[in-house]
């Protein structure tokens, strides 16, 4: 029992101290841009009512989901193709290196040229393109780094190319794909917000801008906190999916490390 208490003590300790420090530190602050934590918490329920969540948070997350989904599919398909064929890889290496280096936010004005600022299409394309590179490059690395004995075994049992792809190449590369996907998710969230700051009308980023323009400072703080929570929730969700899909990999690594 004490072990459980100790664990929760560690987990809750620092956050509790920080929160109380914030609470008292800002208790009677006069600076309107640093409202007391109490007012921020008070305005939370009134600001983030259910219909605002439906109107602002869901569209943002939907766009992130669609964009991220597209990036995952395209990234894996292209990555596997490039990873498997040395010529294709040599051909595409420098081009990929350049596109990977372009900071994703730069995509927003470029894609706005084609798809305009408002509306979903431009935002989804921005998110998809921004998330594509980490997944694509990690898949290529994963396919290239696949254990040669495994591919030999697959060949020696005459597994058809399709079955080799599904049972050997993809599972073998999945740890690297997940590394790429985690980076892509963090970039996706950044792009989700930025793509809404321009031509803002509906969405989480847009809501925060709206609060800021109308000097509703406490509401704006709640918006920032909601955005933070979404970042944390997405990371936790990702961890859950990863632990389920990569259970074999995590188990194996644990045993290798002799933990």
């Amino acid at each position: 029992m004490t072990r459980f208490l100790k664990a929760t003590g560690y987990a809750v300790g620092l956050p509790a101290i920080l929160l109380t420090a914030w609470w008292f530190g800002s208790a009677n602050s006069t600076n309107t841009f640093w409202p007391p934590l109490s007012t921020i918490i008070e305005t939370f329920p009134t600001t983030w009512t259910w219909d605002r969540i439906v109107a602002d948070v869901f569209p943002s997350l939907a766009r992130l989901g669609i964009g991220f989904g597209i990036a995952v599919v395209v990234g894996i398909v292209l990555g596997t193709a490039i990873g498997l064929s040395p010529t294709l890889r040599a051909l595409s290496e420098p081009v990929l290196e350049f596109f990977r280096a372009v900071p994703p936010p730069v995509l927003v004005p470029i894609i706005a040229l084609f798809a305009g600022y408002t509306g979903w299409l431009g935002k989804i394309v921005t998110i998809a393109l921004g998330c594509l590179w980490p997944i694509l490059l990690n898949t290529v690395e994963g396919v290239r780094g696949l254990e040669p004995t495994l591919t030999d075994t697959a060949k020696s049992y005459r597994l058809s190319p399709w079955r080799r792809l599904v049972f050997v190449v993809l599972p073998g590369t999945s740890p690297r794909i997940f590394t790429g996907a985690r980076q892509a998710l963090s970039i996706g969230v950044i792009l989700m917000v930025i793509s809404e700051l321009f031509g803002a009308n509906r969405g989480l980023g847009a809501a925060i801008v709206q609060f800021q323009r109308s000097f509703a400072i406490p509401q704006m703080w709640t918006g920032v906190i909601v955005l933070g929570l979404i970042g944390v929730l997405l990371a936790a969700l990702f961890k859950v999916v990863e632990n389920r899909m990569l259970a074999w990999y995590l188990g194996q690594r644990q045993i290798d490390r002799g933990e």
Binding site: Y10, A11, V12, G13, L14, P15, L18, F33, T87, A90, L91, S92, E93, P94, V95, E97, F98, F99, R100, A101, V102, P103, P104, P105, V106, V108, P109, I110, A112, L113, F114, P134, L137, N138, E141, T179, Q183, S186, I187, V189, I190, V193, I194, L197, F198, G205, I208, V209, F211, Q212, I217, M220, G223, V224, L227, G228, G231, V232, L234, A235
Partner: protein
């Protein structure tokens, strides 16, 4: 080949013409260049033939013309310097803070456990969440970009350094202790060399993220730099200049990657496997 009757002495070794094969490395180089040319030619034809509306995708030649023209203008170099400086300051601060805190927290088990939940909570918070705050605090001053860059890069560095300090081989640490190494010597000769590869990875990851946030701040908030110039070019419908700036920013990104890899190779020449895992 018909199976010759098995005589005692096998047939004389067939002379294989030893044609000097072009080593694989330079073949890849040519293919790489070909790849780049294909993409450029593709963009050019797409735009010239009007398949893609030239107002939105100018011919590549126009982009480079705009780029070269820009190279001659003062504001370009000033913006470039501001972007690079913003990136460098933010990254340096993040590295210094991340390494210092990483070492302190990493080497004290109590601190390690005590702060882990907070780190796990604050780490995934997207740095863009701070944009509204920094706008209120610093408006379009460089400090806005500094805060965003510092916040984003700091977590990358801290987490890697914590991995590094935690990864110290207990056997090495015990041997050092058995030779009565003082804490400073243990840090210098055991913890630091083990942590160094992680610090280098931290530098590589931090450098990339720092550039993303610097450009974001310039583009979104209007902090001076290439990002802001890009926003202005785009909104004043100077399309070739917009693409030219994208190319420049992309090249900066490539340079940042190359610098990071160079520093990593230089500092880690002695490490058995220079960590090839690319971010």
């Amino acid at each position: 080949m018909s199976s010759s009757p098995s005589t005692l002495a096998p047939p004389a070794r067939p002379r294989v013409g030893a044609r000097p094969r072009r080593p694989r490395r330079s073949r890849d180089l040519w293919l790489g260049i070909a790849g780049v040319l294909i993409v450029l030619a593709g963009a050019e034809t797409l735009s010239r033939t009007g398949i893609v509306n030239p107002d939105f995708l100018p011919p590549v030649t126009a982009m480079y013309a705009a780029l070269f023209e820009m190279l001659g203008e003062g504001w370009f170099w000033e913006a470039l310097w501001l972007t690079v400086r913003g990136w460098a300051i933010g990254l340096a601060a993040a590295m210094a803070l991340g390494i210092a805190l990483g070492f302190v927290i990493g080497s004290v088990p109590f601190l390690r456990k005590f702060t882990s939940s907070t780190i796990e909570f604050l780490r995934p918070i997207p740095s863009v969440a701070l944009i509204p705050l920094v706008i209120l605090l610093f408006g379009t001053q460089p400090q806005s970009a500094f805060v965003l860059v510092l916040y984003a890069a700091f977590w990358q560095v801290l987490v890697q350094v914590l991995y590094g300090v935690a990864d110290v081989d207990p056997v090495a640490r015990d041997t050092a202790r058995s030779y009565q190494f003082g804490p400073i010597r243990v840090a210098r000769s055991v913890i630091y060399p083990t942590a160094l590869p992680y610090i280098m990875t931290a530098f590589r990851l931090g450098a990339a993220v720092a550039l993303i946030l610097e450009i974001t701040a310039e583009l979104v908030i209007g902090v001076d730099g290439l990002g802001r110039e890009l926003g202005i070019a785009q909104s004043s419908n100077a399309v070739p200049e917009t693409y030219a700036l994208v190319i420049v920013i992309g090249l900066i990104g490539v340079a940042v990657n190359l610098l990071a890899r160079f520093v990593e190779r230089k500092a880690l020449w002695w490490h058995p496997s220079v960590r090839s895992e690319n971010s």
